[in-house]
Point group: none
Amino acid sequence: MIRVVVVDDHEIVRKGMIAYLQTDGDIEVVGQASSGFAGVEVILQEKPDVVLMDLIMENGTGIEATKQVMEKFPECKIIILTSYYDDKQVFPAIEAGAFSYLLKTASADEIVQAIKKAVIGENVIEPKVANKMLTSFQKDTLKPHDELTPREMEVLLCIGNGLTNQEISEKLYIGIKTVKTHVSNILSKLGVSDRTQAAVYVHRNGLL
Amino acid sequence: MIRVVVVDDHEIVRKGMIAYLQTDGDIEVVGQASSGFAGVEVILQEKPDVVLMDLIMENGTGIEATKQVMEKFPECKIIILTSYYDDKQVFPAIEAGAFSYLLKTASADEIVQAIKKAVIGENVIEPKVANKMLTSFQKDTLKPHDELTPREMEVLLCIGNGLTNQEISEKLYIGIKTVKTHVSNILSKLGVSDRTQAAVYVHRNGLL
DNA sequence: AAGTAACTCGGACTTGAGACGGAGAGGAAA
DNA sequence: TTTCCTCTCCGTCTCAAGTCCGAGTTACTT
């Protein structure tokens, strides 16, 4: 039997969730709470295998509750349930030690599956959230030129080939003023101060 | 006996040379001429083993004579004798088929040795001329930046790192005017038109 | 003694580069 | 619809860059 605690300040959500979970023969709801503060008490007392935790609550956020639980009871698998995938608290929740991260748009069955996976060590991350995480992690290894627009990249490569603004404007069939605008944007995006350094950047990063 | 023909428009040189060569028991002077034109006639008639040919003569140059002889009598070893090592006709002479290339500053004994070496297939090239030939051959594989002075190379590498003239002047403890002078010289030596192209050159040739 | 090459600097000059601010057109997403 | 991004372009302005000229200094070679 999988021992579960449900923490959510919306009573209707909490009750409904519990009712559904009880229909599954492998799951036993051993506790519930309507705030993060109360949730920590219940969890530390019942020592459940899995916790379903709402992220946004009136009395103490899910983040704080998660942190406190992980400090004293790190074996616990906390599944975060939230309404918005672009919530700014996604990453703090992960950092706090949440094990899985689901949206409330997920079907009841998905939630059950997430609980069962949690006990065997598999975490479930909502695709859109996973995407956000991925791009976030990549941001550390993100090269400055990745934020260049396609047109700017074209111009940058021209600079890397030693072309002047005039030559670039002729090659790309645009005005020299436009080239200057692109160059200015490129320089500030790359964090360099002139085209020569931009050319050096191109070759140092093997863009050619 | 080594059969030799001497071609030189200066009578005193010709006579002196012949007189000296005759003192060597292995050499026999079988003909002489005071112009390239006449020289060809004598050579084709006498079929000597070796020819001592002056490069600069009034009637037909040694170059032309050498070419004509090599066409009809290629086995002949023609030794070019000239006064100046930086003569512009050095390479045309070699191309025409001259076998050895000596300066008139060479000692009489050196000339005799050159003759004896010629018959056994060894050619003798004046060191300075050889040097000129070498650097000439190397010029094909010579990178433009090889002719940069050490200081210019320093400046070029700075450019390759994206430094401005001001920054270079501070790094090398010289005036910005001096930097500009170096940059100008660098650009013309590399055959590029601005510092950006110079920076590209640096990276394309792996100078950093 | 004379020549050559490298390094240094000066002044005057032209021009390309880049910054700054503004702006319109088109497309994609909320 | 509105917002946002991209691409496009304009004018103005400042300054670094580069050219062209000359010139003085070493140091090495002839």
